[in-house]
Symmetry: C2
Subunit: 331 residues, 2 copies
């Protein structure tokens, strides 16, 4: 309950260096635990086309000791970088106190979006990773690739990292950059070798065609299928889904817009074949890995409750700092 | 197009005294003109129940010389005043530049909500009011009653005002308050007398039962039916709608949640009997009043494009003022 008569404005630098990936992992785990317990305020999505781009508004809330409701209002304007030197995806997260709707805070959205997605994969990996040292392969070299390395380092004993992707020069450059920053060896390799040699495989590309072949995937792995989060996006051959235990962030989303959509649309699996949701792993309603042979896929589509949970975490951590711009909107 | 790298935060006092009702009338007329021309970004609504209240998120945008997209995120928490000394309905309006999604501004929402609703009625009254001096009656004594007097004074030659409502003491007190502020006589009277003696009648109550009787309404009036904006809310007997030319703010809304819902649900009128929309009056696609005998009803349900248009108007007027709190969200 807010009795402070102030709304806080968080720009990137106000929280970027004051939280680390473990904070986001805690916040996202909290969100999915509440989701499994039914303690959320309904999530929803609005889409609208603008002349040069499109808007997505994602809403949702969390009911707990402190309850929050909010939204992420993002635009996707794919000429922004070129025309305006602005991010192509940009917007705000709005957080309110769900006990009385008081406007608590506004945040720049892209940093939280990036961190929460990787943090959710790390939560899944905690329960689903193979025993022993991890050989991590990442297909993709964008901001999610970097965030996933950071997130998985928090929950796994990673021995080596391979980077791959459609553009081998970009993969090589990104591997070099990471290799120079980390004490672990980071090299680039072919997609085939990266898939075969890893026991954790993360796919985080905007691909609309499956590039991970069924024959490359042996039992025992944990795969984070991150890229597919809208109709048509696709990274894994659907047969891989058939042989795996699939955990979704939100089941109702992954069957429509996640990696699972293709295996379901092909009739290779049915929605009932989905093993469960992230929150059910956390609450113990479903078991995590219990044998070395199991193949687990975490199907990630993203949800407003992850954004709201991270925003609330940042708000609670920094609300009494005097470094945050504030305003009394009702004055 | 925004090249200033700043997001503005408008609290109430930052714009309350710098704009008058004519500004809101201009902004709302602009919104509905663009609506009639098809120059809007799709509007949409999300509703979500919270444990002690409910949230409404209304989205939409305007395409013009400057294009805007945004939303109003409001909570309705009807114990707020009692429990927290907070408004029962509260939230924010978010405005972005629809050419690149840049976050332009955040506003406290209730002042804009109040002003834009009354401003829209004034726009309708411009085209639909009777000739000659106006005897205005207002059924209701809340913030919309006051805003409607202010708005109609901008567009009508008002000779006298009557106030009425279910609670005659409240009506009397409000009439006294207004009488002391205005140079025009303001008295309270019964609902029947208020209806019969007026040539402009505004109903702005939360009623769910028709209190304006058919036999009280003669031809020649302009009625602003403001209160009914959700399923079940009702102020006029449906037979009144049958004998009137109905103008809606947004036709698709009024047939579902406006005053028109009841006459349509009863089969007394069909959606095709709706005469037109506010924007069509402004663009001249439909005619306003052409005879003293016509009975016009303006059916008001409210729309995000009114909020966004007012927010954009305020933003454009005050963006270069150095009195507004600002932040570079991307820094």
């Amino acid at each position: 309950m807010n009795l402070q008569n102030k709304t806080l404005l968080f720009n990137r630098s106000s929280f970027e260096n004051l939280l680390d990936m473990n904070d986001y992992i805690n916040a996202v785990a909290h969100a999915h635990k509440l989701h499994a317990q039914g303690n959320i305020i309904e999530t929803n999505i609005i889409h609208a086309d603008a002349p040069n781009g499109e808007y997505h508004v994602k809403t949702g809330g969390l009911i707990g000791e402190n309850s929050y409701y909010g939204l992420k209002a993002n635009g996707g304007f794919f000429k922004n970088q070129r025309d305006y030197n602005l991010p192509n995806i940009l917007g705000v997260i709005y957080l309110s106190d769900a006990s009385n709707a008081y406007p608590l805070a506004i945040f720049e959205s892209s940093l939280i979006s990036k961190m929460r997605t990787a943090a959710a994969t790390a939560v899944a990996a905690k329960y689903l990773k193979p025993k022993g040292p991890i050989c991590l392969s990442i297909i993709g070299y964008g901001s999610q690739a970097k965030a996933h390395i950071e997130a998985l380092l928090c929950v796994c004993d990673i021995q080596s990292i391979k980077i791959s992707g459609r553009n081998s020069v970009k993969a090589k450059n990104f591997a070099k950059e990471m290799d120079s920053k980390l004490s672990i060896s980071v090299i680039s390799d072919s997609i085939e070798n990266a898939c075969k040699s890893s026991n954790i495989l993360i796919t985080c590309t905007p691909s609309t065609e499956a590039f991970v072949k069924t024959e490359w995937i042996t039992s025992g792995k944990f795969i984070g299928a991150i890229g597919a989060d809208s109709p048509g996006k696709n990274e894994l051959e659907p047969a891989i889904m058939k042989s795996a235990r699939i955990i979704g962030d939100i089941k109702s989303q992954i069957i429509k817009v996640g990696e699972s959509q293709h295996a379901i649309n092909n009739g290779m699996i049915s929605p009932d074949d989905i093993y469960g949701e992230l929150g059910e792993l956390i609450t113990g309603k479903i078991k995590g890995r219990s044998s070395d042979a199991e193949l687990f896929i975490y199907d990630s589509t993203g949800t407003a409750i992850q954004d709201i949970a991270c925003a609330a975490y940042i708000y609670e951590k920094l609300k009494d700092s005097n470094q945050i711009t504030e305003i009394d909107l009702f004055k």
